[in-house]
Symmetry: D2
Subunit: 334 residues, 4 copies
């Protein structure tokens, strides 16, 4: 039985991890930490939580677990990663600290001195479907961001086939849990309900460089990227609508076949039949990414949906743990 | 033309006042204040706001206005009231500071030393429909709380007719704007959406003593009161479902006639036909209170709905201003 | 391995049954029926559904299953029950057809001639926690209504202790899935969102006689009942706020102990610590009933929450199946 | 005083017209029609409605009004238009019947034989800001669709300046009232809440040819159009996010100035300062279109928001009436 510790268990991502690990047949929870709520039961915050007492991070019994999940703010995550790696644990970091391989880019986008830049080259970027060769035995896994997960899974077949002729335009919409659990003016119920808002559109959101980096995994000269996130008045779920200008000659049926073949054996990527588009109802409360295609002239439109807290965070983190530790990839996730 | 100043214009109640006064044919806005946002335009916070620059409260030009609306926290409101009264203004206080006539009760429930207890006996409790004889010329008006407004309008005919035989049970549900604009954990979108929560039920909410006091206006020995508020996942609106045990002999048709007669000439109280119940859709974005009746054996059920920000706050405040200053009572409110 | 057939699998309750049975370690799905969608996959309607093809009810292979769940309109359910019982199946009926023991009451409230009144006396009313002695081996189980489940679990300890002094007042609020999946004007998104509505309040809702009957299980002269349902703008969940006038001498701490002892060994009834009230967040997506207590003078206030589709329907149905067939009561439900 | 009749007053658009005309200083309501609800008061459907009795369309007293608003299904609208024109009325049609100038395109997209093709060339396409020269005295006005209004107002400055270098990609999101008041499966509260869905994306939505036609008003060879609508879980509001590839040399500041100058004198188009993006909160419950700009490399991103029922339907219809009849353009709309 694998034992897992969760740093930062009171946030939405930590809580999803608790729920997934509870039903995982080959893993169990060793500890859950919280700085502000230490010594209180997790059920103080989430009424349906199992009996777990939060411990202060410095009191976490690292020697009792095999793997640590870091649901911490950037900066703090990297520091904790160092401690956990030194204690011999496998570390799965759900923050942004090890996603960007270029330390200068990290420091520019996150306005933080990276606490452990020497670890960047050892970290595996855990977009599981495309990281399987690197994950087994990996000690440090950077779990991808939620928007990047929805977008990169949708873009990979097009890049691998060299089908894109120009700028990739991505219009994404996310539920409010993506903004975290700390109350802010822009997540106040009255401000969000009945509203819909674009924010950080174009090339200024912190996930933009992560997506650009990811596009480069599959193509030497990836397309330019325009990425426009919007805040949806729902608790959870991301839908990305992706507009790809096609090189001459591509037909929708052929592209659909390409996507279908790419993901034929993937348990968590569902390519919808032609005529169906992805919606949040396809994916919420699951670890799935649903992908639906449509065409308009020379433009392919890919609709890609995930549950931001599961496939976009805690679910993919457990999927990565499963592959890294040699467990069944779908364990705990079905 | 009456000129009005609004203290605390960045909260939801202040913003409703701005909207109402903008369309008021006999009043206009003299100033709007904010401590934290001074010197910024109100449209920074509410994008549809007219061109108004917020001023710091201490810079408010009191000599340029006739009336001051106080949308301030309790304690601060009473202090500002003193300043405004000294400057000769009519003061309409939307906080709780002048609602309870008993200073000891105020200090017990609000855990605050009252800054101006000597003013309590001069303040008019502005439940407009029942304060018309006291309002003209009043200099200090305590605007009722939102829950009390929805409940007292529904209870008055029963108390006046001495129809209630036992404990009055009130089950109230309020939209989230009732909790104010400051972000808190319990108003975070993700915590409120898809949820429904009772809070401070029984006899522990601060509006309980205010309602008890109000019941005493119409009956020497008013019934005991149980008052249970709940948080609804909607931005605005209050529905109170009120259970009144009836003295022998009362029939629904007779009670309906009693309510209809009581409110026959009231522009803002709508007694629904038998068979109809009050809902938020009857009242939101209006200054109305809708009342619907049903009977179950010896229990009368009164459903009473208001928009908490309008009839429960800003709308009733303007209604009170109109009556106090001799304007048409419905001006700005239709 | 128990095999189960689901009649009426395209409604919300049928779909919850599918999800629960999919993860049930000792049961599996034999068939799913639909009249209007026969021969189509269930995933046409619910995108995350497993591979199941809907069959017309008359084509359901009764001889391949052990138990039939009926998620059908009243009337149709009783007719199907007869067929299934004749085929030797255990029948769990989620409609109202076998809940009321008095055929005259049924025909009055449901305006339908009962198709199988002779079966009424053999049906077990499956409020699981209080039906354990009757369930093992039962062939026909009437699954309780959603509102009655939330209310009866909360009322039983008070009735058993003879603690109630007068009329029981129940103010209930339900999410929209309780109204079924067929689109109607009053379930249109635009009519429900931002609104909140009482309906059928007092003693006129069809669940009223069912609750009255249930109260009579535990007390020879149960209290009068006032029952007021309201429509909440959420997809799922019921919260009932129950006002019980207490006989002299009862204290909150004593009543809390009474509830705690009554449900000490129950896996699916959670009595919250004093100071906590039940909310939808305590129960949604679980088979639990959460109960929280508060007192106001001589009135006990019980807050009781369930997920209407799970403990209020499909979950309790599986719980009943488990007990009836000698499986582990919590199987599939944790 | 202008008198107006409303055909189809029970739909959401008709009801908005009632509310606007009620507060219009120079117009009043002559009649409201409904086929299914004739002889009932409008308040049966909308509880806050004024005292108006619905009449059957064939009983509408055409000779008592000056202008007819048609809130009818396509096909029926054109037939009613003929009757009203013959009676000498000014007709403002909120259906699609007179929007497309090409009868063949109409019959292809709407799968209906046009009942009055001879009127098409006389109809004015009432995108008010760009139809002012044609509106005065016009007898038949085709009120634009909601999506086209949000998009065409945002695209016009770019087309007039010949700034667009390639395919225009429009990602639009609409509240549910855009789908009308008749209950359907895809507008059922439970299906819409917590969900977000693309539909008819690319070049297959009926508003696509209308937008293409509109783009052609300002440029001889308008860009290709990709148009992807999505259903938002809110009652009202449209946000269109528009991606325009720019011809070389255009800078954001210059484009912002272009938009600002184009709309400098427009009462109902608000170009937001650089740094601000349009949201539903900018426009709901107003007749405004809010436009915000951002740039990403060679792509201009225009965010454009309207209230679909007001600027996207009833509000623009009254704006058109005002201009057509020589009233103040903003009357009833501020």
């Amino acid at each position: 039985m694998i034992k897992a510790g969760i740093f930062g268990a009171t946030g939405y991502t930590g809580w999803e991890l608790v729920k997934i690990l509870q039903r995982h047949p080959q893993a169990e929870i060793g500890f859950v930490t919280s700085t502000s709520q230490a010594e209180r039961p997790l059920s103080t915050i989430y009424p349906t939580a199992p009996d777990l007492i939060l411990v202060a991070p410095q009191d976490a019994p690292l020697n009792e677990v095999d793997v640590a999940f870091l649901c911490l703010p950037h900066g703090a995550a990297a520091e904790t990663a160092v401690t956990c790696l030194n204690a011999g644990l496998t570390v799965i970091d759900l923050s942004a600290d090890f996603r960007l391989r270029d330390v200068a880019a990290y420091e520019q986008w996150y306005k933080t001195i990276h606490p452990a830049p020497e670890l960047l080259e050892t970290a595996v970027y855990g977009l599981t479907e495309f990281a399987r060769s690197q994950l087994p035995g990996a000690k440090l896994i950077a779990n991808p961001g939620c928007y990047p997960t929805s977008i990169l899974l949708a873009a990979q077949p097009l890049l691998a086939a060299d089908a894109i002729a120009g700028t990739l335009i991505v219009d994404s919409k996310s539920g409010v849990s993506g903004a975290g659990r700390s109350p802010k003016q822009n997540t106040h119920f009255v401000e969000v309900a009945d509203n819909f808002s674009p924010y950080n559109i174009g090339q200024v959101h912190r996930h933009w460089p992560e997506i650009v980096q990811g596009l480069g995994f599959w193509h030497a000269s990836p397309p330019d990227l325009v990425f426009s996130p919007h805040l949806l008045p729902v608790p959870r779920g991301i839908l990305s609508t992706i507009y790809a200008p096609l090189k001459p000659g591509w037909q929708l049926s052929e592209l659909h076949q390409l996507f279908s073949e790419t993901y034929a054996d993937e348990p968590f990527v569902q390519v919808l039949p032609l005529g169906s588009l992805a919606t949040l109802a396809h994916v919420n409360y699951t670890n799935r990414c649903a992908i639906g295609l449509a065409q308009a002239g020379d433009t392919l439109i890919v609709t890609s949906a995930i549950d931001n807290l599961i496939k976009g965070a805690a679910g993919q983190a457990v999927q990565n743990m499963n592959v890294a530790l040699g467990l069944k990839e779908t364990a705990g996730l079905e």
